[in-house]
């Protein structure tokens, strides 16, 4: 017989962003127990439900060997007694008495009662706490109730002082605090108590609710997910703000609404910000407009602050703030932002930056001394750019300052202009150099200064900006070069989807010029699809092995020592191929190489001939050295 299963872990409010991960962790553990559960959650409950859970585990059989069949009767009786049966119930297998012990499968309810406490405590969270005392269990937030049902029975266990039962809890203020449920009534009972269990349903309620408000919001899926997991009964409302605040930069207004208040921004038909916002409440309605007015007042105060800072900051130009950077720490071991600025300006110059780029580098960090950035740190750079524009800096300069932290992720775009790309590169390279020289090097999952992201940004800018710059020499230490090598590989493999052996082969021919590496890789992909490529690559691998075994590192080549036939033919082909793009020579080269290895013995008895042959093969590899090392290719043959 199979039964429905319900587990609800009732907690205090779990941080929204941790919920999906926790559900997956719980689901996987139940699966290991043979329960295929569907998962749901609100901030106050993690829920697993399953149909068709077997009432019992399968019966098991075990064969127990006893005494030899010629053993004395007493021994046989003793064995039978130990198994709790009569000697007649034993059987003989081969030379021994045996007993087939059948164990009925355990009741699932017992298995679950035993396993669930451990499973619950093993749910993974990025951060946990204890609440019952120092040696008590750890969880993301205190567990306050547990519903655990198999069929109509409670799966009995105790965890963190909470006894499992059949009593759930509704919305904190709109629902009842203690409500008995069955597996069948559970979801509807919650619904009646203002808890929408399904995230999809809450998402839909938010979206439908916004549609019904007749406003256009700036789409923001991340914010939507946050609100879905921050509420049990989400209801959107629209509010207004004084249109005079629209004179503030849109970036600032959106940040206040988005990051500080978790509001959606509203746009008009032309996509410009409109003086409204959408907030999502965790109650059913705002009948008297109290919630709307409350939110409007909070927003008004925040906008007032922002405007005050915006105006105050204008009293001192960015250019007059450079000296103030001496008071802002970049990193304890790496000095102030003033020192960093000096280094970055120099590096921009080394990278060939013009006056605009150097000007942008000089002003780039000045916004760290402004009140607005102290208030909205996530807008650093952007605010500097906006101030620079307001203070009459040319487009090339203010845009470079605005974009200096780009790309912030692999999905983000790179800075829009050349000066911005140089400033972003120099800033990141300086951070990397400094951290590596001070021993602050990422290891495993520890990367507190986000150096991987910085290096990834450098790679992305160089490739997508098609910049061939003398950046390689700036890396200095071998450790940092190795770190970048991994980042370049990661970029081309994981972000761009090249095959790992292609990336290795192309990088073996050099990777200091990343746009060049990219174009070689793109050509590589095309060549690889041609039928001659893989056999040729296999031959190249063979050549490399021959040269390595012979410890050959170059030597004179004399055409006069060539034998007529395949050897001369290959030599001619190599000469023809010289200076030609690889795409056009593979086809002709491949049969000559094959024939050569078929007919010619490289290890000729005459040492002079042998050396000459090695020199020719060496020359062949050399021709492609700047393109790729084909011996890195993993071939099927």
């Amino acid at each position: 017989m199979s039964l429905p299963f319900l587990l609800e872990i009732g907690t205090e409010e779990i941080p929204d962003w941790m919920i999906p991960g926790a559900l997956e962790s719980l689901r996987a553990q139940l699966e290991a127990l043979g329960i295929a559960a569907r998962m749901d959650a609100t901030p106050r409950r993690l829920v697993a439900r399953a149909e068709g859970v077997a009432e019992r585990l399968a019966d098991t059989e075990e064969r127990v060997n006893g005494p030899r069949k010629n053993a004395p009767e007493k021994a046989v009786e003793g064995f039978a007694r130990k198994q709790g049966v009569t000697p007649a119930e034993l059987s003989i297998e081969g030379d021994y008495y045996t007993y087939l012990r059948k164990t009925p499968g355990r009741r699932m309810i017992d298995v679950l009662a035993e396993a669930l406490p451990g499973i619950i405590l093993k749910i993974t969270f990025p951060k946990t706490m204890y609440w019952t005392g120092k040696s008590g269990p750890r969880f993301i937030r205190p567990i306050r109730w547990i519903v655990a049902l198999l069929g109509s029975d409670v799966i009995p266990f105790k965890l963190a002082g909470v006894r499992s039962g059949n009593v759930t809890s509704g919305h904190r203020r709109l629902g009842s605090a203690r409500i008995p449920v069955t597996v069948g009534t559970y979801e509807q009972t919650l619904r009646d108590n203002f808890v929408i269990l399904s995230a999809a349903d809450r998402r839909e309620k938010i979206q439908d609710g916004i549609a019904a408000l007749c406003v256009h919001i700036k789409p923001d899926l991340a914010l939507l997910e946050t609100l879905v997991y921050l509420t049990e009964y989400p209801t959107p409302i629209v509010g207004d703000f004084d249109p005079q605040f629209l004179e503030l930069p849109e970036e600032v207004l959106i940040t206040v609404m988005r990051h500080h208040q978790k509001y959606f921004s509203v746009v008009d038909e032309s996509g410009h910000l409109a003086p409204h916002f959408v907030a999502v409440m965790n109650i059913d309605a705002d009948r008297d407009g109290l919630v709307r007015r409350g939110n409007e007042r909070v927003l008004q105060a925040r906008f007032n602050d922002a405007r005050f800072f915006w105006q105050t900051d204008q009293h001192k130009k960015l250019a007059d703030r450079v000296e103030d950077l001496a008071h802002v720490t970049f990193q304890a071991k790496l000095g102030s932002y003033y020192e960093k600025t000096e280094r970055v300006v120099n590096m921009v110059r080394t990278l060939g930056g013009d006056a605009s780029a150097q000007r942008a580098a000089r002003l780039a960090k000045c916004d760290l001394t402004t009140e607005l950035v102290k208030e909205f740190t996530e807008l650093q750079g952007v605010i500097g750019g906006l101030y620079a524009r307001a203070q009459g800096e040319p487009d090339e300069v203010w845009q470079a300052i605005y974009d200096q932290y780009k790309p912030e992720s692999m999905e983000d775009s790179i800075p829009r202009n050349h000066a911005g790309r140089l400033v972003s590169l120099a800033d990141k390279l300086d951070t990397l150099r400094g951290c590596f020289s001070a021993g602050m090097i990422p290891s495993g999952s520890r990367d507190p200064f986000a150096l991987r992201r910085a290096a990834q940004g450098v790679v992305k800018i160089l490739v997508e900006g098609r910049l061939d710059l003398p950046w390689f020499g700036l890396l200095g230490d071998a450790q940092l070069t190795g770190f970048f090598e991994d980042r370049v590989k990661f970029y081309f493999r994981d972000i761009r989807g090249f095959r790992y052996d292609e990336v290795n082969a192309a990088m073996a021919a050099g990777w200091s010029d990343l746009p060049d590496l990219e174009s070689r890789l793109l050509r590589f992909q095309k060549i690889r699809a041609t039928p001659d490529f893989e056999p040729l690559a296999a031959s190249f691998k063979r050549i490399k092995n021959i040269l390595r075994q012979a410890e050959f590192t170059g030597g004179p080549f004399t055409a006069a020592l060539l034998e007529p036939g395949p050897e001369i033919e290959l030599s001619d082909e190599i000469n023809r191929a010289a200076g030609q793009p690889i795409e056009s020579v593979i086809h002709a080269l491949r049969p000559k190489v094959d024939l050569y290895f078929d007919k010619v013995l490289v290890n000729a008895p005459d040492p002079a001939v042998r050396a000459n042959r090695l020199a020719m093969l060496y020359g062949l590899l050399e021709q492609f050295r700047t393109f790729a090392d084909f011996s890195e290719i993993v071939t099927n043959s």
Partner: protein
């Protein structure tokens, strides 16, 4: 409409009814209610404790000369410590909001993740900022560590921002317009504090003097800590040892640090080091206090 003081009375009565000792504000300058011995030291050790008090909290750098309607050099926190935290602590907390007239079926309450940390105190906890119609009104924290010590019993700390709550309830756009008592606004009572301390903290505080004071208080705290009897044989000396006065010296250092900071007098290189110095003292007091309490058992 309740006045500022009426709101405070109601909250105090509410928590008194739930077994809290109602304390008066601590009489040494602090940056937050958490720093008072009633929180910082009482959360250590296994003894249950419940206390509530209003603590004027000084943040020199937040002063705005009385010109900003929402920012204050000195604001008032209602600090509630429930040790151990009761199972229905959130319900009790929501009840306190209802006690001051907030109908939570008509207002939007959200608990948003916000873990609190005070590096100078070696203290941190897990919790939320409580949002009421988009306004942060309370910091709710389950203490995990204090003075670098894992806590035996986990207390819940509720820190209400009283000015914000009052402005919300009285529908005032400026804290200075809050009615403190019938006929008196918040501005009538506190405006001069804001102006004068802003002038002092930002313009006139004598940096050399403040550094000297810092060194004196630091030295006194360190001297006392060094004299704390270590051995178990000295039980009598331990029991009467003046750790509370030592902690006062630490609080003085902390406030001086904040004042120096608002004066722009702490350079980059010094900053981390000064925080470390205060932390070392705070942690030292906490550890000695835990030892003293244990010895008294």
């Amino acid at each position: 409409m309740d006045s500022f003081q009426e709101i405070i009375f109601k909250l105090k009565s509410y928590w008194a009814e739930r077994g809290c000792i109602i304390q008066e504000p601590y009489d040494v300058e602090v940056g937050a209610g958490t720093m008072c011995p009633e929180t910082f030291l009482r959360v250590l050790g296994p003894k249950p404790y419940r206390v509530a008090y209003v603590q004027p909290s000084r943040r020199p750098a937040d002063g705005r000369y009385g010109e900003n309607p929402n920012r204050l050099y000195k604001h008032s926190q209602l600090q509630v410590i429930l040790k151990p935290s009761p199972n229905d602590v959130i319900e009790q907390y929501l009840g306190s909001l209802e006690a001051i007239g907030i109908d939570l079926t008509r207002h939007d309450i959200k608990f948003e993740e916000d873990n609190w940390e005070a590096p100078t105190l070696g203290a941190w906890g897990i919790g939320w900022q409580v949002m009421l119609d988009g306004l942060e009104i309370t910091q709710f924290t389950y203490f995990q560590q204090c003075g670098g010590i894992d806590l035996d019993v986990v207390p819940a700390e509720l820190t209400y921002g009283l000015e914000r709550l009052a402005a919300f309830l009285q529908v005032k756009d400026s804290v200075y317009d809050i009615e403190w008592a019938p006929g008196f606004t918040y501005g009538d009572v506190r405006f001069e504090d804001e102006v004068q301390f802003s002038v002092y903290n930002f313009e006139m505080a004598d940096v050399d003097t403040l550094w000297k004071l810092f060194a004196l208080h630091e030295g006194e705290a360190a001297r006392l800590l060094a004299a704390y009897p270590k051995s178990a044989q000295e039980a009598t000396q331990k029991a009467r040892f003046p750790l509370l006065p030592a902690y006062d010296q630490v609080l003085k250092c902390s406030n001086l640090f904040n004042t120096l900071d608002s004066r722009g007098a702490i350079s980059v290189t010094e900053r981390v080091g000064v925080i470390q110095r205060v932390r070392k003292l705070a942690v030292g007091v906490a550890q000695a206090w835990a030892d003293q309490q244990e010895a008294a058992q």
